[in-house]
């Protein structure tokens, strides 16, 4: 059954016009941020914008350090595997399209390592040793669903969503 065009769109509009609940804490957060800012209304001196920005920045860092880190949206993690006999080790996972060429690891005395920047999220990964052998990360939680028959591990980076 087809509604007349206008009716569909009107239903949409009525739906969108419904009140949307905004987090009640927002008012307090705004007031907290502006408390650090020197009062507006006066003639601004050239140095002022810098000071104001620094004050707001400091507030954000002090009041919400976790969110600030999250707002940067990435964490730098080091992945390590001890494999003295290996000729090559690659890190593969959800963060590099499971492509062994993307994150080859460097070794010193049998300890293989590499560093990766990860945005918040949960990532499955594994080490590919000598191009053929799959190893999970012994120091990380296991990925339980290994539907391809090889072990994987999981790393989760916190912060605000994707």
């Amino acid at each position: 059954m087809f509604e007349r065009e206008d009716e569909t769109v009107e239903r949409v509009i009525q739906h969108l016009r419904l009140p949307v609940a905004i987090d009640a804490g927002l008012d307090a957060r705004v007031m907290r941020e502006i408390a650090q800012v020197p009062r507006p209304g006066r003639r601004m001196k050239p140095l002022w914008p810098l000071l104001a920005a620094a004050a707001v920045l400091a507030t954000v860092l002090v009041v919400r350090p976790w969110n600030w880190n999250a707002a940067n949206a990435a964490d730098t993690l080091q992945f390590v595997l001890v494999a003295p006999q290996a000729a090559s080790v690659a890190l593969v996972g959800d963060f590099n399209d499971w492509d062994p060429a993307r994150s080859p690891m460097q070794t010193a005395h049998g300890v293989w390592a590499t560093v990766v920047r990860l945005a918040p999220g949960r990532y499955r990964y594994a080490f590919l040793v000598n191009g053929v052998e799959w190893r999970a990360d012994p120091s990380a939680p296991a990925a339980k669903d290994d539907e391809f028959g090889t072990p994987s591990s999981v790393v989760t980076v916190g912060g605000r969503g994707s």
């Binding site: 949409v12 949307v20 927002l26 007031m31 502006i34 800012v37 507006p40 209304g41 969503g161």
Partner: protein
């Protein structure tokens, strides 16, 4: 009786903030929070990003309050800050216009992917809205949901009135089309 208990106007509140009464800004935030928040949520399509954009806009408005030329039109001025802020927000799980492939298995999958046997209408609306081009969505929301006049929208967005009318018209057409499609999945 004797005391006039009408709420202070925007101009009055702005005046108080400018003379040092920071708390008066709180009244402005309360006054505009829900209405502007509704716009941000529908425009951005994500509650958290919308609240962040809203919060950011309030703070920016406060910091540049000296540049608000007409305190009586604080609301419009704040709107302008918010509309701009919503434009620059990073797309988060943006659902773009796509054609999609159906095969029997995939349709089956879609049916089971959602608890109800068919999509909630409100989900369909949200998705359809998200599929609109940003400037269509913006114009549509400002006109039909936020109830602004075309002249006001022109001021906020910098677009001409006839261009805006066309955008709203297109938005209506496309919403209609997407919702039809959603019914037939």
């Amino acid at each position: 009786m004797g005391i006039n208990s009408v709420e202070p106007s925007d101009a009055e509140l702005v005046r108080r903030v400018r003379t040092g009464d920071t708390g008066a800004y709180g009244a402005l935030v309360s006054r505009y929070r829900d209405r502007l928040g509704r716009y941000a949520v529908h425009m951005i399509g994500d509650r958290e990003d919308a609240e962040e954009a809203l919060q950011d806009s309030f703070v920016r408005a406060y910091r540049s309050l000296a540049r608000c030329d007409d305190p009586a039109r604080f609301g419009a001025w704040l709107y302008g800050i918010l509309v701009n802020r919503c434009r620059t927000t990073g797309a988060r799980a943006a659902r773009r216009r796509r054609m999609f492939v159906h095969d029997a298995q995939a349709l089956d999958l879609a049916a089971h992917a959602d608890r109800a046997d068919r999509l909630d209408w409100t989900d369909a609306v949200d998705r359809a809205l998200a599929r609109l081009a940003p400037d269509y969505r913006e114009a549509f929301l400002l006109k039909h949901v936020q109830d602004l006049e075309y002249e006001e929208i022109a001021e906020l967005t910098g677009a001409g009135v006839s261009a805006l009318k066309m955008r709203v018209k297109r938005a209506r057409e496309q919403l209609q089309k997407y919702l039809r499609e959603a019914e037939h999945v």
